[in-house]
C-alpha cells in the first residue's frame, strides 16, 4: 500500500478528483495548506503598505492506493494538474505499513 501526497493548485482540485474517479480510486482526503516554494508570492496592499505574501494557498490530496495502481495514479495527477508555470506543486510517495477501514475492521487492500 502506498500513500500518495500531492500538493496542487487549488483550482485544479476538481480536475484531479474527476480524473481519479474515472480510475478505480475510491477515496481521497483533502487538506487546505499553504505552500512556500520557487513560485513568487503575491503582493497585498493594506492602506497602501505593500506586503509580500510568501505563503500561497495550495491543496494537499492524500490518496492511498494499491502498489500496482501507483504509477497510473501519479501519472493522472501529474497530467491534469500541470500548467507548466512555477508553483504547480509536488507529489510525494511513501510506503504504508497497514491500512484499516474503521467501519468493518478490514485491513490492507480490502480497506481502501
Amino acid at each position: 500500500m502506498k500513500l500518495i501526497t500531492a500538493i496542487i493548485r487549488p483550482f485544479k482540485l476538481d480536475a484531479v478528483q474527476e480524473a481519479l474517479s474515472k480510475m478505480d480510486v475510491q477515496g481521497m482526503t483533502i487538506t487546505e495548506v499553504k505552500g512556500f516554494g520557487r513560485q513568487q508570492g503575491r503582493t497585498e496592499l493594506y492602506r497602501s503598505a505593500e506586503y509580500l505574501v510568501n505563503f500561497l494557498p495550495k491543496i494537499k490530496i492524500e490518496v492511498v492506493v494499491q502498489d500496482d495502481s501507483l504509477q497510473s495514479v501519479i501519472d493522472a495527477i501529474t497530467e491534469v494538474s500541470k500548467t507548466g508555470q512555477v508553483g504547480d506543486g509536488k507529489i510525494f510517495i511513501s510506503e504504508l505499513q497497514e491500512v484499516v477501514r474503521i467501519r468493518t475492521g478490514e485491513t490492507s487492500g480490502d480497506a481502501v
Binding site: E44, L45, Y46, R47, S48, A49, E50, Y51, V53
Partner: protein, 421 residues
C-alpha cells in the same frame, strides 16, 4: 452652530416651547451617533486588527463607551456645557441635577441635548483607541479614557461650544472638527508614541483579519455621520438639510480622491483605501457642514482624501511611530484640513454662509481656525501625555506584557476567542 448657541444652551429654561419636529430629528440623531460608536467604529477597527485581538477591540469599545457615559452623567456634561467661565464650565448640573423631563434647551428637551452631546463625548476617546489597539493594557485604558473625558474632552468642548473663549472668538466648528477629530487625532498620536510599536511592526505582515467588518463599519459610520453633522443644527431645518447634503458629497469626493491616488501610485485601488477616503472626507466636512456650499464640500473632501492618503501612506512610515489604525493620519490631518478650509469656504463669495460672529475677513477666519487647531493640539497633547503616564503608574504599566501581546489580547485579557468556525 452649536458654538453660537453656546451660552443659551448652558442654561436650560423651563419656559420655552419644545418643537416636536426638532425633537424627533435630535432623538434620531442621537441614535445615529451611538450607532457610529457601537457597532460602527467597533466594526471598522475590529476588522483591521489581527483575529487574536478582534474581541479586545469590541470589549474596549463597549467598556470605554459605558464608562464615558457615566462620567458625562456625573460631571462631564456640567463641565462641558454649563456655567459662564472662559476655560471650563460649572458644576450646576453635577449628576445631571436640573435635567428634568420638562426642562427645555432651545427648541428641544434639555435631556435630549444631554444625550446628543453625550454621544460626542463617547465617540472621541473611541476614535483615538485606534492608535493603541493590539497592545494597550486594559485597566490603563479604562483609567485613561475616564479621566480624559473629564479633563481633556469636557474643557475643549466648553471652549468651542459651551460659551468658552474659542467660541467667543468666532471659531467655525459646526460638528466638531477640532473638538472631536483633531482632539482625538493628537491624543492618539501622543499615546501611540508613548506606548511604542506593536511587536514585529513594521516588518511583520499584520493583515486585517476581516475587512468586510471594516467596510460594514465604515458604511455605518457614514450613515451615522448624518446624525453627527445634520444633528449639529439642533433642529430639523434647512441648515440640517444642507449639512446632510455636504455629508454626502464630501466623503464621496474623498473616496474617489484616495482611490484614484492609490490606483495611480500603487497600481491597485483597495477597499481599505476607499473607505479611508470616505472617512477622510467625513472628518474634513465636519467643521464645515454649517458653513460651506456643495461645491465647497466637494473641494474639501477631495483635498482631505489626498492629504490623509499622504499622511497615512507616506508620512507615517517615514517617522516610524505605530499609529496602528491611522487615527492621526485620518482624523488628525483630516480635521486640520477641514478646519482650515472651513475658514476659506465659509466666505459668502465662495458660496458659504459667512464667517463667524465678529470675524470679518477670510484671513481673520483662517487665523481663528488656526488658533483653535494649535490650542487643541497643545492642550490635548500635553494633558493626554500626563494622564496616560499617571494611568500607567497606577495600573502597572502602559502595555500588555510581551507574552500577552503575542498570545493576543482576546484570550490573554478577556478569556474568549473571536472565531470558532
Amino acid at each position: 452652530m452649536l458654538g453660537l448657541l453656546g451660552v443659551s444652551l448652558a442654561t436650560p429654561s423651563l419656559a420655552a416651547e419644545v418643537s416636536a419636529g426638532d425633537t424627533a430629528w435630535m432623538l434620531t440623531s442621537t441614535a445615529l451617533v451611538l450607532m457610529m460608536c457601537l457597532p460602527g467604529l467597533a466594526l471598522l477597527y475590529g476588522g483591521m486588527v489581527r483575529s487574536k485581538n478582534l474581541l479586545s477591540v469590541g470589549m474596549q469599545c463597549f467598556a470605554v463607551a459605558s464608562l464615558v457615559m457615566l462620567m458625562w452623567f456625573v460631571i462631564g456634561y456640567s463641565l462641558a456645557l454649563s456655567g459662564s467661565g472662559v476655560f471650563v464650565g460649572g458644576l450646576d448640573h453635577f449628576l445631571l441635577a436640573g435635567i428634568t423631563g420638562d426642562a427645555v434647551n432651545g427648541s428641544i428637551p434639555a435631556a435630549l441635548f444631554v444625550c446628543f452631546q453625550m454621544t460626542f463625548a463617547v465617540i472621541t476617546p473611541l476614535l483615538f483607541l485606534g492608535s493603541l489597539v493590539e497592545r494597550i493594557r486594559f485597566s490603563t485604558l479604562l483609567m485613561l479614557t475616564a479621566s480624559w473625558s473629564v479633563l481633556v474632552y469636557a474643557p475643549i468642548c466648553f471652549w468651542v461650544w459651551g460659551g468658552g473663549w474659542l467660541g467667543s472668538l468666532g471659531i467655525l466648528d459646526f460638528a466638531g472638527g477640532a473638538v472631536v477629530h483633531i482632539n482625538a487625532g493628537i491624543a492618539g498620536l501622543v499615546a501611540a508614541i508613548m506606548l511604542g510599536r506593536r511587536e514585529g511592526y513594521p516588518n511583520k505582515l499584520m493583515p486585517p483579519n476581516n475587512l468586510t467588518l471594516s467596510l460594514a463599519g465604515a458604511a455605518l459610520l457614514w450613515v451615522g455621520w448624518f446624525g453627527f453633522n445634520a444633528g449639529s443644527s439642533v433642529a430639523a431645518d434647512g441648515s440640517a438639510a444642507m449639512a446632510m447634503l455636504l455629508t454626502l458629497l464630501a466623503p464621496a469626493a474623498g473616496a474617489l480622491a484616495w482611490m484614484f491616488m492609490e490606483w495611480r501610485s500603487k497600481g491597485k485601488p483597495t477597499p481599505l483605501g476607499i473607505v479611508s477616503g470616505v472617512i477622510a472626507g467625513l472628518v474634513a466636512v465636519t467643521p464645515a457642514a454649517g458653513s460651506v456650499s456643495p461645491v465647497g464640500a466637494v473641494v474639501i473632501g477631495t483635498v482631505a482624501g489626498l492629504a490623509c492618503y499622504w499622511a497615512s501612506v507616506i508620512l507615517k512610515p517615514r517617522f516610524g511611530y505605530d499609529d496602528s489604525l491611522d487615527v492621526f493620519g485620518v482624523h488628525g490631518v483630516g480635521g486640520i484640513v477641514g478646519a482650515l478650509l472651513t475658514g476659506v469656504f465659509a466666505a459668502t463669495y465662495l458660496g458659504g454662509t459667512g464667517f463667524g460672529d465678529g470675524v470679518d475677513s477670510m484671513l481673520a477666519q483662517v487665523g481663528v481656525q488656526s488658533l483653535g487647531i494649535v490650542a487643541v493640539i497643545v492642550y490635548s497633547g500635553i494633558v493626554t501625555a500626563l494622564l496616560f503616564w499617571i494611568s500607567g503608574r497606577v495600573c502597572g504599566g502602559l502595555r500588555a506584557d510581551a507574552e500577552q501581546e503575542v498570545e493576543g489580547l482576546d484570550t490573554a485579557y478577556h478569556g474568549e476567542r473571536a472565531y470558532n468556525l
